[in-house]
Symmetry: C2
Subunit: 208 residues, 2 copies
């Protein structure tokens, strides 16, 4: 289970299950998500395998917390995973499937609506990642070239998201263009003039 290793990785800093959930929601959610109902049992399982240890901590506010940290064995396990080469799973993308089967509706307008909705979602996510990046850039003077190793790797991961989402937005824009062209092969110029397309919200190329 990848989640086990991700928890081992995150627990370089001691944290409770609740803390970890917040990290998933705010920091690493763009490449891995997890629910509390999955986090808690997994932490217990890892402790049973002696890859984590825990202690109860009296919290200032709220009830008792259980704070976990990695053991030497946990760190070894993490390293073995890290050195084992990449795991590229096959991505199941329901939205591509939907597009693929849209001809069953026999309505190019529906295709266009689907693509526009997708375009908007991708753009929103892209903006969220860009905000993360910007916040970082503004709060850390070492960004990007003088960053310590840990932060440098986070940057690479973040840039994966940026590259990927940008490609998604560009694909959606391009597909919308192709569908419009197909729906109305004659009046391309007329339309292009009349309607300043959404794709005018140009997404600048990513740089470092």
């Amino acid at each position: 289970m990848s989640l086990e290793y991700i928890l081992l990785g995150l627990l370089g800093e001691p944290a409770s299950g609740y803390d970890l959930k917040k990290i998933f929601d705010t920091e690493v959610g763009y490449f891995w998500a997890a629910e509390l109902s999955q986090i808690y049992p997994t932490l217990k399982r890892l402790e049973k395998q002696h890859l984590l240890r825990s202690h109860h901590a009296a919290a200032k506010r709220g009830p008792r917390r259980i704070v976990y940290e990695t053991t030497a064995a946990g760190n070894r396990a993490l390293r073995v995973w890290l050195q084992a080469g990449p795991e590229v799973g096959d991505e199941r993308q329901a939205f591509v499937a939907k597009l693929y089967f849209m001809p069953a509706l026999d309505d190019l307008g529906a295709t266009l609506r689907l693509l526009s909705a997708l375009r908007q979602r991708f753009a929103t996510r892209l903006e969220a990642l860009r905000s993360l990046e910007k916040l970082w850039e503004e709060s850390d003077p070492r960004y990007p070239n003088e960053l310590p190793t840990a932060e440098f790797h986070k940057l690479l991961a973040l840039r994966k998201g940026l590259f990927s989402l940008q490609a998604h937005v560009e694909w959606a824009d391009d597909s919308i263009r192709l569908v419009r062209q197909r729906a109305d092969p004659a009046g391309v110029d007329r339309k292009a003039k009349a309607k300043p397309e959404k794709s005018d919200q140009r997404t600048a190329k990513v740089r470092v």
Copy 2:
């Protein structure tokens, strides 16, 4: 379950479970995969719900086949799904997680190896998709602008894969560059001269 709708979509043409598996492996695998052990029970479930019907067919070679096709109700269900707007799940990408936690190894060389392995896998997949596209282009004179609606949508889906994989390759190349720069800030030109990088296998921009 998306798989149910995908089967309904694929069964616009009658097919057996075994046939469908081959379609997953050769045609739609780049956005959805499925095992026979999942396909067979799902087909049975859909038939019980009267969204599919089946008949036994004597095959020329091999044992009896069970050929499924959609019913009117099945087609309605598919349309409802298609009109319900996009489903963009959160992608869990173990390889990004791995990169994110690489600092635990404290070895930039390991990061470089990971990125190179990723680069190669992405490039291989990209080539596979391009072959699919090329084969198509060569065998169908209507490609790309005169394609019938069904094929046009397949093209959009395929281009999603092309855009996405290309972004992945570009990200990997760019990350490799950044890591090298970081590992050896002084000797950039020297190295760039000595080693014609893998990234020289330039991946041309996608066009229609």
